[in-house]
């Protein structure tokens, strides 16, 4: 049978939150390119992902059936920043999106962007984790074209109010799905990134329901029938 090919974000997602967060924390610990307080905020969001993953569970079900609830990344997230050099919100959003199980395409004026991307790939490579295409950079010259030519599963923008509104309108005009648009404009306090629920917009939920008695009987229930 033809092997089912997984997109990179799915391979990353399937590692599980623990492994993803461990890799991200290891990488950013040595990342001097980004000031410490922003890395602290990114670490905070990583911890929130671990907290969120505790929601994954087997839900109470009728006998003979299992219902597994779990979280997944959404797919490819576009993180776009037109803010100044001292504002690293784009960085925290990138880490959060990766921790949540997404792949990220990053458009930022950050001068050390290439180095950052290279060190990320290297860290994952050394851990024998999927890396190709997981975190990529791009120059966003034509935003309209950028949005129209990619299937983004979520969008994070940090910049100006007018551009934020333009993005909002373009997303609404297009035929694609309604995706989360997270944005903060210059001057906004870093409200959402310090919130424990920031990641909720970067994950999606999945349920897997399995009929355990499809082959014709519920062995577990049968043994309960004889229990004292």
């Amino acid at each position: 049978m033809e092997q089912l090919q997984s997109p990179i974000w799915l391979q990353w997602q399937q590692l599980g939150a623990q492994q993803r967060v461990a890799a991200l924390l290891e990488w950013q610990q040595a990342l001097d390119l980004v000031p410490a307080q922003w890395r602290q905020l990114a670490a905070f969001q990583c911890r929130q992902m671990l907290r969120l993953s505790a929601l994954e569970q087997s839900l109470p079900s009728p006998s003979g059936e299992s219902n597994e609830y779990y979280l997944s990344g959404r797919g490819l997230v576009f993180v776009y920043s037109t803010q100044g050099d001292d504002d690293y919100r784009w960085y925290v959003a990138t880490i959060a999106a990766l921790a949540a199980g997404n792949a990220v395409q990053l458009a930022s004026d950050f001068p050390e962007l290439d180095s950052m991307l290279a060190s990320f790939s290297e860290t994952l490579y050394l851990r024998q984790l999927p890396a190709d295409g997981l975190l990529t950079g791009c120059e966003c010259i034509d935003l309209q074209h950028q949005l129209a030519s990619h299937q983004y599963a979520a969008l994070c923008y940090y910049g100006e109010a007018e551009l934020a509104q333009a993005i909002r309108l373009q997303l609404a005009e297009g035929d694609g799905p309604i995706i989360p648009f997270i944005c903060e404009v210059l001057g906004d306090p870093q409200a959402s990134l310090t919130h424990p629920d920031f990641l909720l917009q970067l994950v999606c939920e999945r349920t897997r329901t399995t009929n355990l008695t499809a082959i014709g009987g519920n062995t577990e229930l049968l043994t309960l029938g004889s229990k004292a």
Partner: protein, 1037 residues
């Protein structure tokens, strides 16, 4: 209330049959502990019986254990791999599926999936016999042995074996062993073979009841085939002059169910009568097997009609099976005795314990019944069996009912022998079971033993085989423990009454009652078993006033201010039923833009008061509303039927879902919306609290006019928002009634206001209002995009948009799936609610190798779907919501007609002329990409796929952009888990249908074009309706 003592008196024979009949549904709903306590005196051994029973039972057990020929290879295997172990279950799965897989690739993959996933090591350690070494098991049985390097661990040995042995060799060996298992239980593939195979046993004094395997016919062709085989069986058995035939009613009619009662007592009766007449003519006894409890009373009605037919009178060989595991068994026996007493013809009765126990329990849980119809302890079933046996052996029953005790339990055999006051009875055993036990019994007691011998090919064997494996293989089964010498004899022969007396309560506390299965999560909503004639009648009577044509509802927008009488009077719109366009349901008055503005103002003003009420009180209102919904069940069900065109079952499920949402969100709010403290990124302690966002607009669809309407509103309200609800125009009367009940539950009017009118008019005005903080929407993707645009045009922080939209939902079926199961699940997934569910199956992709049999089964089964008024319980195909929807679907089907690609359609009926009906239709497509748009009706696309190109199919499904529900039918666990990961959907269902998501059990919602999330009925939903406010802990005080 029925008292077991009544049936033991000889006066019982003069009790009108109607009394026993009425007792049956009451008994099925009776409290188990109470009823068992009443039953015990009749099951218990008296002083003279006890020593005899103990002595005989002990003798039998010891004789079996001493018998060197007692243990077959299969028994050894089932001892080792009992079905409490993963390995046992995996072997059973192989037994159930391997032989039917037509292609080698899928068969090999299944073997590898099963053999590589189990922990065989635990079995290899303790058993000395290599017969049970799983890695040599199949090879041994086929005569080939492989030597192992015993220095390696067991799993390494197995992996080496798998690596070095060709898959075809392994497959061949395991196939062979599966056939051995099959032969253990089947007397012969044909009746000639079975008669020949039984010759030696007949010479020893055994007689046979031949069971032509096959049950649950899906198509009339299958039913016809089984009928012919029963006719042939009767003729062949007549030639042997010794034997009887057992028949399964479900094999003889594809719609053998309570909902089709008229057809069963008409058409089905006419099919079976000649069979019985033939059996009478040739003097071949005929026994009607028992099946699920749902069909108990239907089978009794059918039996009575046959029994009383003039052509069958004077026969006395038409028998019935009675199962002791359900609470009504004694009443059924009393009814049969009364029937025989009236007519004077004997009725043979085979008493069994019952074979569908686990399935019955699950069904009761899913339906939300008040209790189980069965005993929840094995000891309860066993003691009920003895009480029934005592009745059957009573002097006043002799000559009326001929008892046939089907058992493999030494104690039961001994107890019957001790309590019998005459010898006019027989024992029965299954072929392949109890051989040694009955050898010992014959020597000791010398009674007639009849062997129930299944006849048929492996294909028909499967359901029967699995039930036998479960009986034998459960650690707790008598048969299992009989061969387990570690089990003390005293334990084995303990009287079930003694076992029960040591238990408290008598009902099994490890099996929660259906209302309690969700434990602390939420209460299970109250259901109704429509297959119980008493419950159906009661419900229909309660609904009757609301189902009258002259019962109308009036609906206007419900605002916080004065009701706008003038609007109503001026702009009335008549509402008609989708199933009968001339039957009016009521009248509606739509809101104008002035009322919209007023509602927004009131909602905003009410906000502080509503938020300050507090979470606990808001939850209290939800709970009171839930009670009111259940209290007004008849009216609300009637409205669902008359306004939305829903069947009765759909309406019940709709109401249950609404109640479930209320309970779930209430309990979820108390867990998720209370504040909590956390350490922030700087290590400082903060407190997160959740507050409502403001005014929420809740826009709901017509296909779930109560459940989704209530669910969205409840979530918004409990989270501390005020709500403006905009229901679908087609189902506004139901929304009005629901909101009236909300107010009755104590909800302030301004907290929830209802605006009626076209979405195209009200939607933009509502979305553009600056006070609206969020919109919760369920409906089409196109409409959701419109809403997104309106909201995007606003200035300031954008409101939240929670949208649950549609899907092009697929099911993938590989060649290891059981096609009968698949077809049942496909029929439900594609055609329930006339396909008007966002979760509905739209494309079933079937592996090429099984396409043809699948299409045959599907087409045949679709012919049996009944198009009718949804007010009739027999309705399978209900109307679609409107003439516009109907035309769109018909045009789509026509485009396939012109290409000759209509695979099958369900029959139209005269009902179609009265309302908006579309027949259930299956269309053939060549690629998933052909289906570019969701067809919101009973239209299913059938797509063949090649196993090697499954990756392509997966990519096409993902590329559609939708991701709502997915069905997978396969026995290969690693295969379906891999597929589930690859396909980006919100709700995946494995080996079952993919509709009917239960709140909190299958949180519902999809991805991409199917919705924004979070899932309704899931743990993250409520938070989306809130702001999270974070403050330092020291400021919280």
């Amino acid at each position: 209330m029925f008292n077991p003592a009544q049936v033991f008196s000889s006066d019982a024979l003069n009790t009108p049959l109607a009394s026993w009949w009425q007792a049956i549904p009451a008994l099925l709903s009776a409290d188990e502990s109470d009823y068992l306590a009443k039953l015990q005196p009749f099951a218990r051994a008296n002083l003279s019986e006890k020593p005899l029973i103990d002595s005989v039972a002990r003798h039998l057990v010891e004789a079996v254990r001493a018998d060197k020929h007692a243990l077959h290879i299969l028994d050894q295997l089932l001892l080792e791999y009992s079905l409490d172990t993963e390995e046992g279950v995996l072997l059973m799965c192989l037994a159930e599926s391997l032989l039917r897989i037509p292609d080698r690739a899928t068969a090999d993959a299944l073997i590898r999936d099963k053999l590589s996933s189990a922990n065989w090591q635990s079995h290899l350690k303790r058993d000395k016999s290599i017969l049970v070494n799983a890695s040599t098991w199949g090879l041994m049985l086929s005569g080939k042995i492989i030597e192992f390097d015993h220095s390696l661990s067991a799993n390494s040995r197995l992996q080496r074996l798998l690596a070095s042995t060709s898959e075809s060799l392994l497959r061949g060996a395991i196939n062979q062993s599966m056939k051995v298992i099959g032969r253990q239980f089947v007397l012969g593939e044909t009746l000639d073979q079975a008669i020949a195979n039984g010759a030696e046993l007949r010479m020893q004094g055994y007689c046979f009841s031949y069971d032509m395997l096959g049950e649950a016919a899906l198509t009339m062709d299958d039913a016809e085939r089984y009928l012919k085989s029963y006719f042939r069986a009767i003729e062949q058995v007549a030639d042997t002059q010794q034997g009887s035939v057992s028949i399964k009613l479900s094999a003889l009619f594809p719609r053998y169910e309570q909902a089709q009662r008229e057809r069963v007592l008409g058409e089905m009766f006419e099919r079976i009568l000649p069979l019985c007449q033939k059996a009478k003519l040739l003097e071949v006894p005929l026994t009607i097997d028992a099946e699920e409890v749902d069909r108990l009373m239907l089978s009794m009605e059918l039996f009575e009609k046959l029994y009383r037919h003039p052509s069958l009178q004077g026969w006395g060989q038409l028998g019935m099976v009675v199962q002791s595991y359900h609470k009504a068994a004694l009443a059924v026996l009393a009814w049969l005795a009364g029937l025989a007493h009236q007519q004077g013809d004997k009725i043979p009765v085979r008493l069994v314990k019952g074979a569908y126990w686990d399935a019955e329990l699950k069904l009761a849980q899913q339906r939300g019944q008040a209790c189980y119809p069965l005993f929840t302890r094995k000891a309860g079933t066993d003691s009920a069996y003895l009480a029934c046996a005592r009745l059957l052996l009573s002097p006043h029953i002799k000559g009326l009912l001929y008892p046939q005790f089907a058992t493999h339990n030494a104690h039961t055999i001994a107890a019957i022998s001790a309590m019998a006051q005459h010898d006019h009875y027989e024992y029965q055993r299954l072929h392949g079971m109890g051989e040694a036990l009955y050898r010992a019994t014959s020597e000791l007691i010398g009674k007639t033993v009849r062997i129930y011998g299944p006849v048929g090919s492996h294909r028909e064997l499967l359901p029967y085989l699995v039930r036998r494996l479960l009986e034998n293989g459960a650690n707790s089964s008598f048969v299992h423990r009989l061969f387990d010498k570690r089990c003390p004899v005293e334990q084995l022969i303990a009287h079930p009454c003694t076992v029960l007396e040591a238990m408290s309560p008598l009902a099994n506390p490890h099996i929660p009652l259906p209302p309690d299965i969700y434990q602390d999560y939420r209460q299970n909503s109250q259901g109704c078993n429509l297959d119980d004639p008493a419950q159906l009648t009661e419900l229909q009577q309660a609904m009757a006033p609301y189902l009258r044509d002259d019962c109308h509802w009036q609906g206007i927008s419900l605002l916080a201010g004065d009701e706008s009488e003038h609007t109503y009077l001026e702009n009335r719109l008549a509402v008609f039923s989708p199933y009968h366009v001339e039957k009016q349901v009521g009248q509606l008055g739509f809101a104008d833009s002035g009322q919209v503005d007023e509602a927004l103002l009131q909602a905003e003003r009410c906000l502080p008061e509503w938020q300050q009420l507090g979470l606990s009180k808001r939850v209290g209102i939800l709970n009171r509303f839930a009670e009111l919904l259940e209290a007004h069940r008849p009216e609300l069900l009637a409205l669902c039927q008359r306004e939305a065109g829903k069947t009765l079952q759909d309406s019940i499920d709709e109401l249950r879902e609404a109640v479930d949402f209320l309970h779930y969100y209430g309990s979820c709010a108390k867990r998720e919306l209370i504040g909590y403290s956390f350490s922030d990124h700087l290590g400082l302690q903060q407190v997160a609290r959740y507050q409502g966002r403001g005014v929420f607009v809740c826009i709901s669809p017509w296909n779930f006019p109560l459940a989704i309407f209530v669910g969205q509103i409840a979530a918004a309200l409990v989270a501390g928002n005020t709500v403006i609800a905009k229901p679908a125009e087609s189902t506004s009367l139901l929304a009005v009634r629901a909101v009236e009940l909300w107010y009755q539950a104590g909800l302030p009017r301004a907290a929830l206001q209802l605006l009626l009118g076209p979405g195209s008019e009200l939607g933009p005005q509502l979305c553009r209002a600056s006070c609206v903080a969020g919109v919760a929407f369920t409906g089409s993707t196109a409409t959701a995009k419109h809403l997104q645009r309106y909201l995007a045009e606003r200035e300031g922080p954008p409101p939240v948009l929670i949208a649950e939209t549609g899907g092009i939902n697929a099911m993938i079926v590989d060649s290891s799936a059981l096609l009968e199961q698949v077809v049942r699940d496909v029929l439900r997934s594609a055609f329930v609610s006339a396909g008007q569910r966002c979760s509905a199956l739209r494309v079933v992709a079937v592996q090429q190798e099984v396409l043809e049999p699948f299409c045959l089964l599907l087409s045949g089964a679709m012919q049996e779907l009944k198009m009718a008024s949804p007010l009739e319980y027999r309705c399978d195909i209900a109307p679609v919501i409107s003439q516009g929807a109907q035309q769109k679907l018909l045009d789509y089907i026509d485009s396939y007609h012109s290409q000759g690609k209509v695979l099958a359609q369900s029959p139209y009926s005269k009902q179609a002329e009265l309302g908006h009906y579309v027949a259930a239709t299956a269309l053939l497509v060549e690629s998933f990409t052909e289906v570019s748009e969701e067809q919101f009706g009973p239209i299913l696309h059938v797509l063949p796929y090649e196993r090697e190109r499954l990756g392509e199919l997966v990519a096409q499904i993902n590329d559609s952009g939708y991701g709502l529900t997915l069905g997978l039918h396969s026995r290969n666990i690693s295969h379906y888990l891999a597929l589930e990961q690859q396909l980006h959907v919100g709700n995946c269902y494995i080996n079952r249908d993919q509709v009917g998501a239960v709140v909190g059990v299958q949180p519902f919602g999809g991805h991409g074009l199917s919705g924004t999330g979070p899932k309704a009925g899931g743990p993250l939903y409520l938070k989306r309706f809130t702001h999270c406010v974070v403050n330092p802990l020291d400021e919280e005080g």
